[in-house]
Assembly symmetry: C2
Homo-oligomer: 150 residues x 2
DNA sequence: TATTGTTATACTCTATAACTATA
DNA sequence: TATAGTTATAGAGTATAACAATA
């Protein structure tokens, strides 16, 4: 039966599809980056550092929408991998300024390559035009949500 | 600067956008359904029950991709809300067959309404055609991932 | 006294393993 | 002996609160 009534059921909403797809695709991405000893949150931090320079870890925490204490442990791990460097702010010595190292840029590139490979997998049934249109539409949503798009 | 090299950076991938959007939108949906005393996983269970009949909780666990023990606690909560009923299988009394109650259908409808309202919020900048195209494209990805689409 | 980073602690979510009832 | 559901336990992830250094 699965009768269709006047308004769309949950599985026909953008919210449901984005939420469930995000979870599944996120898990698959997590599997791919595991060999680099990274988790999605680490990649989020690397990505943020690759785009802007942040005055402090607290700024970074605000940008990522996580607790400052989490930035500490993420940065600890990335530092142990040699991906980021912590430098005390010369003017305000309370601040730790995080910067990507050469290794950090390399890891970021590796993760991007994994993401592109996964993109290819999941959009194998689409034409290039369809794929681009989808990417752009999601970019619009992401930009409105304050998420990075480039 | 943010130089664009030969291949797309992470934020230009479908994987990154789906993952980050899924997390943000999922959180916003979670806030909306909190007054009903429900979390996204509960809604996933209700949705599954609204679509098919499952022989056992283990089948349900397999469909949802979670551990059987989690189905127990989700079902416990939904039962306490009067949203589902547990009935022992007459042929095999080890099995608990879960079914939606009237209240369960009502809650499912309420959650769908919340999702539609959120859809409207996040797609306010799109035309109806653009919105439909996006919904359909995501439906294609979801179907290929084995997720419900209707 | 206020703020940055850090550490200590606790809470949420979910899985694994042990257990009970039924087959 | 094997299977469905349940309960007990443990681990990952993350937030909140306490703390130390600097301003």
């Amino acid at each position: 039966m699965n009768e269709v009534k006047g308004s769309a059921g949950l599985p026909q909403t953008l919210v449901f599809r984005l939420g469930t797809l995000g979870a599944v695709i996120g898990d698959r991405f997590a599997e791919r980056i595991e060999p680099y000893d990274l988790k999605p949150k680490h990649v989020g931090l690397l990505t943020a550092l690759g785009q802007d320079s942040f005055a402090s870890q607290q700024d970074l925490a605000a940008r990522l929408g996580v607790a400052p204490s989490l930035v500490v442990s993420l940065a600890d791990h990335l530092e142990s991998l040699g991906a980021v460097q912590r430098v005390r702010g010369p003017d305000d010595r309370r601040r730790q300024v995080l910067t990507l190292t050469e290794r950090g840029h390399q890891l970021l590139g590796d993760c991007a390559a994994e993401a592109r490979a996964l993109d290819t997998e999941i959009t194998a049934h689409l034409s290039a035009d369809q794929r681009d249109a989808l990417l752009e539409a999601l970019g619009g949503l992401a930009a409105r949500a304050g998420l990075p798009t480039n």
